[in-house]
Each structure stands twice: as structure tokens, then as C-alpha cells.
Amino acid sequence: MAVEIQKQIYLYIPQSTLDETWSDLVAGKASKPNSHFVVHNFEHDMESIFWLLLWTLLVRFPCNLDSDKERSEFAGILSEIFQDTSICSPKREEVFSQGGALYDLLARFLAPQLESLQAPLDALRNALVIGYLGRKQEFNDLSSYSTLYKFLRLTLSTCQCLTQKQSLPDLLPCHSGAPQAEIVNLPLQVNKRRHSQSNAGDDDDEYGLVSSKMARGQGNTDVSSSWILRERNPGVSYIENDSDS
């Protein structure tokens, strides 16, 4: 989900001089309440594709970090960026709208085989941000959207090109590891219970919570990454914070 939609605030802020606003306010003309809707536009759909791409490359692609500390830090950052809620975490906003934040994140945590995608991903992010800012409040200006498709295509085709050039490991599964056939036709609770039983130990409850959350959350753009993180980093605990209504 696009940052603007989650935060219900446009990234573009109309500029006005201090003198103008000062004299208006002193004259008793209160600022007009900002009662605009953040209307979902075509670029928000493109941004969703960007987040799906980032999620696939960061969360689902296997990455071998050396130390527990690094793994734990990476897991923490991912769980902040890809939450199963419609709320935008400060980290997610920073990664999208602050120049350099995504580049640094990718430099540290993107799998070595995907290193060449670091710059194209950041360039796409930058193109989208400039798209939002450059549009200002001219939401009917269709050319402000149509020019952006090119950048989305360039990044996506670079990614696809990479997969053609070298053999890469399979993506980590989203499901809890049980073969699809076993999940079929069983109510959710049965699945949860079985997972808990099969995972004997003192973290049964947490495991059940995570797997049930995955079952619920996998449809969002902000796909919960908890289960995959646990698979990737056994022993690292994650705090679940599902504040969605």
C-alpha cells in the first residue's frame, strides 16, 4: 500500500511564504482545515508494485547474514517496513521518501547475488517520489502518471534480466512449510493447532500466532514477513504488533 494512502497525507506540501501566512493568521483568517481526501491515483498502484518488488527481493530471497546480531537487526527492520497493517511505520516512510535510506538499506542487506539491483531499485523509488512532488496538486494531469511507467519498466526488466543471466536459489515459501495438500480443506484453526503441536517447545503459542497471522496477512502489499524471518533466523524472537482493525 502506498505511503500517501497509509498516512492519508500527500507527500507534496504547497509552499507559501511566511509573510503571507503570518499576515493572514494575524488578521484572524484561520488556516483552512485540510479536509481533502487522499484520493487513490494511478501512481499509488505503481508504488504498490514497487513495494511488492522490494518485498520479494528482501524478504523472500534467501540471504546469508553472518552474525546473529545482523540477522536480528535485519529482521527488526523488515518487520517495521512490511507490516500487516494499513499504518505506515516511520521506517517505511523513511525508506521511501528520504533519499539515501533505501540505498543504504540495500547496501547492507540485499543478497550479494542481487547487488546489481541496488541502484535500479533506488532510482525507481526516486522516480516515484519526484512523480508525487512534481505533480503538486494537479491530479488530473495524466502525463504526470504516464511518464513514470518507463521507470517502473526499466527497473523491473533489469530485475528480470538478472534472473535470466544466472541461476538463483528458490524464493522462501510464504506458507508455514506444510505441503499445500495437507492444508487443503481444513479450517484455519486446525492448521494453527497442528503447527503448534508439531513445533514442540516453549514458543508454541508464538508460533501459532505467527502462522495464523501469515494466513491472514499474506494478501496485503505489506505482507507480514514474520514467518519467513523466523525460518531464516531461528532463535530470534519477533514482537507481533497487529494493530489492524
Binding site: S35, Q218, D242
Partner: protein, 339 residues
């Protein structure tokens, strides 16, 4: 009150008690497992595999369930019909007044037809302004040939079921019932941090129970089922990075031949997102469960499909009225809640 409730339960019909006569649970002896048989517009479908199950137990949401199914003769005859192929059944509860996926798809196609007719008469779509030549060329071909249907899911059957009751007029919310579970609080990692406030799980805990806001809108829901022809794999279930990239790329742009790449599979264009842009529609719900990779054995057509159009709507920013649905929330309301 107690007698009232008991009598209501005793004399309620099965449907009023929550049983759905159009779904039956059966033991499939052949596969030796339990399955469900759905009735859709006079046809019966036996579930074979769960494709997607998103918050299906939450009654205030859409409770979406997506199954791979095969057509059978009735609730009790579970042999697949001769010549039937696996298809996809989506069972969803939509807001009573909202358009179904089929309605939205037909409207998008109608808009594309208008654009196509205009293009044949020499008028370029407005969305072409500023667009790169490669995209324009691809879209122009698609529009002139009028073959956009295959870039969206193919509807086999549609069915509308019952509508749930409205919230009774005399009903009053009681915030002490069904309280939200406490939210886990992430403790500060700073060594000397003040932890005194960490017992507050959410801002509303500062208010007394009776003052808690309880302004949730519960509108009646209508049962809706759609059967699709294409059996796809959701993006979050795709196991190869290359396939995931193909799905993402072709959902937006269709066939892309990169000069430095050796494309091993034939990609047929599926520029669903750009077609929607030209038609003036925003999807509003792009997610890993709505973006599919479609590839069939022995079928050269490997592509991504953008589905689940229930939230899609025409882009009308100047309308000013907006819509009170969950995808567009009024700014001022948010500010009020924060205060």
C-alpha cells in the same frame, strides 16, 4: 431479554442461524478427504485446493476464500463432470451496494472499447500524453486488435447470494464487550529508558471505557461468488524469482524483450495495469494475493494476471465527494481520532 433471545434462536431458520445452504461439507471418498461443495448459479463445484484464505473468519471484512475447484453434478455426486477442468472459485462478501468484480470488469472493457473505437478513428487516448514510445506501441496494438479480454481473468459463472441484515436501529454499541486484544508493546532498547508508560498499549487506554470511540461502520454485506477459468499462482506462492519478476513485469507492461537477455519463455503481453490507466481506472488493491503468475504445462502463454477488481474504481479526483469506504479515509477524521 433472556426469553426473547432463546425464542429467537429456537424459531430461527437454519439460514438465520448462520448455515449457508449453498455450501455443503462432504467426504470425498475418492481423494479420502473432506471437501466443500459450492453451488454457484445452478452449478456445483467441489473444492480441491485452497489458493487464498484472507481473514475469512472476520465477518466485518470481505472474508475472501479462493479455491481451486472442479465441477460436479450435485452436492452428493462428487465425480467430476466429464470434460471438466479445474477452475478457480472466489467466495467473497461485498458491501451490499458495491459493484461485483464482473460488473467492474465489464465497465472497464466498455471504456476500453470506447478508447479503441476512438483510436481507430484517429484519436489517441489521453493517457498517451507523455508516455514512452515502447509502451504506446504495445498498447496501440492491443487496443486496435481489441484483445484485452485475455489480459484479465475469464469469468465462467457469477452468482449473488443473500444480503446480511442491517444493524438493528435500537442497537447500541457497548465498548466493554468484545474488547480488542491488548497490543504487545515493544520495549525500548535504550539502557536507561523510562519504561513507566509501556503499560499503555494504545492511546485509547487513556480514556475511560464508556468514552472509548466506537465509531465503526457496519454495512450490510452481500454474498458474491465468481468462477474463473484460469488457475493461477499468487505472487506470494511463486517459488522462482524469475517467475515472480515475469508476473510483476507483465502485469504492468506485457511482453518485454530486453536486448541483453535471452528470454527462454514466450511472454504474451498482459499490460493490465496500463490498460486500466488508459481506461481511467485505479486498481487500489494491488497485493501479493491479487497478482498472479499464470503458466500452464504445454502452454506457451506465461504471464502475470492482475485480478481482484472489487476495489477498482474510476479515477475522479475532481469529484470532491470521495467515498467513505476503507480505501479512502477522510483526513479530518484521522486528525480527530489522533486528538
Amino acid at each position: 431479554m433472556y426469553i426473547w433471545v432463546m425464542l429467537s434462536l429456537m424459531f430461527a431458520t437454519e439460514e438465520e442461524l448462520g448455515y449457508d445452504p449453498t455450501i455443503q461439507r462432504r467426504l470425498d471418498h475418492e481423494a479420502d478427504r473432506v471437501c466443500f461443495v459450492y453451488e454457484v448459479d445452478g452449478h456445483y463445484y467441489k473444492t480441491q485446493k485452497a489458493i487464498f484464505d484472507h481473514r475469512s473468519l472476520c465477518t466485518t471484512r470481505r472474508a475472501t476464500r479462493v479455491w481451486e475447484v472442479i465441477e460436479v453434478a450435485s452436492f452428493d455426486e462428487l465425480q467430476p463432470l466429464e470434460g471438466s477442468h479445474p477452475v478457480v472459485l472466489k467466495d467473497v462478501w461485498l458491501d451490499a451496494g458495491s459493484m461485483t468484480e464482473g460488473d467492474i470488469q465489464r465497465e472497464i472493457f466498455a471504456d476500453l472499447e470506447k478508447i479503441s473505437n476512438a483510436l481507430q478513428a484517429g484519436v489517441e487516448p489521453k493517457g498517451f500524453a507523455g508516455m514512452d514510445d515502447e509502451s504506446k506501441q504495445k498498447l496501440r496494438e492491443c487496443l486496435l486488435e481489441q484483445d484485452w479480454h485475455r489480459y484479465f481473468l475469464t469469468l465462467v459463472h457469477e452468482w449473488q447470494g443473500t444480503t446480511s441484515k442491517k444493524v438493528a436501529e435500537a442497537a447500541e454499541p457497548d465498548s466493554t464487550l468484545f474488547e480488542a486484544p491488548p497490543t504487545t508493546v515493544r520495549l525500548s532498547s535504550f539502557p536507561h529508558a523510562d519504561l513507566s508508560r509501556t503499560s499503555l498499549s494504545q492511546p485509547s487506554d487513556l480514556l475511560a471505557h464508556k468514552e472509548k470511540p466506537f465509531n465503526r461502520r457496519h454495512c450490510p454485506k452481500r454474498q458474491s461468488r465468481v468462477v474463473f477459468k484460469e488457475v493461477c499462482v499468487a505472487l506470494h506462492d511463486v517459488s522462482k524469482l524469475g517467475d515472480a519478476m515475469t508476473a510483476l513485469l507483465s502485469c504492468v507492461f506485457g511482453e518485454i524483450l530486453h536486448p541483453h537477455c535471452v528470454i527462454t519463455q514466450v511472454l504474451i503481453g498482459s499490460p493490465a495495469l496500463q490498460l486500466m490507466f488508459l481506461a481511467g481506472w485505479v486498481h487500489r488493491d494491488i497485493s501479493s494475493g491479487n497478482l498472479y503468475w499464470f503458466g500452464v504445462n504445454n502452454d506457451p502463454e506465461v504471464r502475470g494476471i492482475l485480478a481482484d477488481l472489487e476495489y477498482a474504481k474510476r479515477f475522479r479526483p475532481s469529484d470532491g465527494r470521495g467515498s467513505p469506504d476503507p480505501k479512502t479515509v477522510r483526513m479530518i477524521h484521522i486528525i480527530h481520532l489522533r486528538e
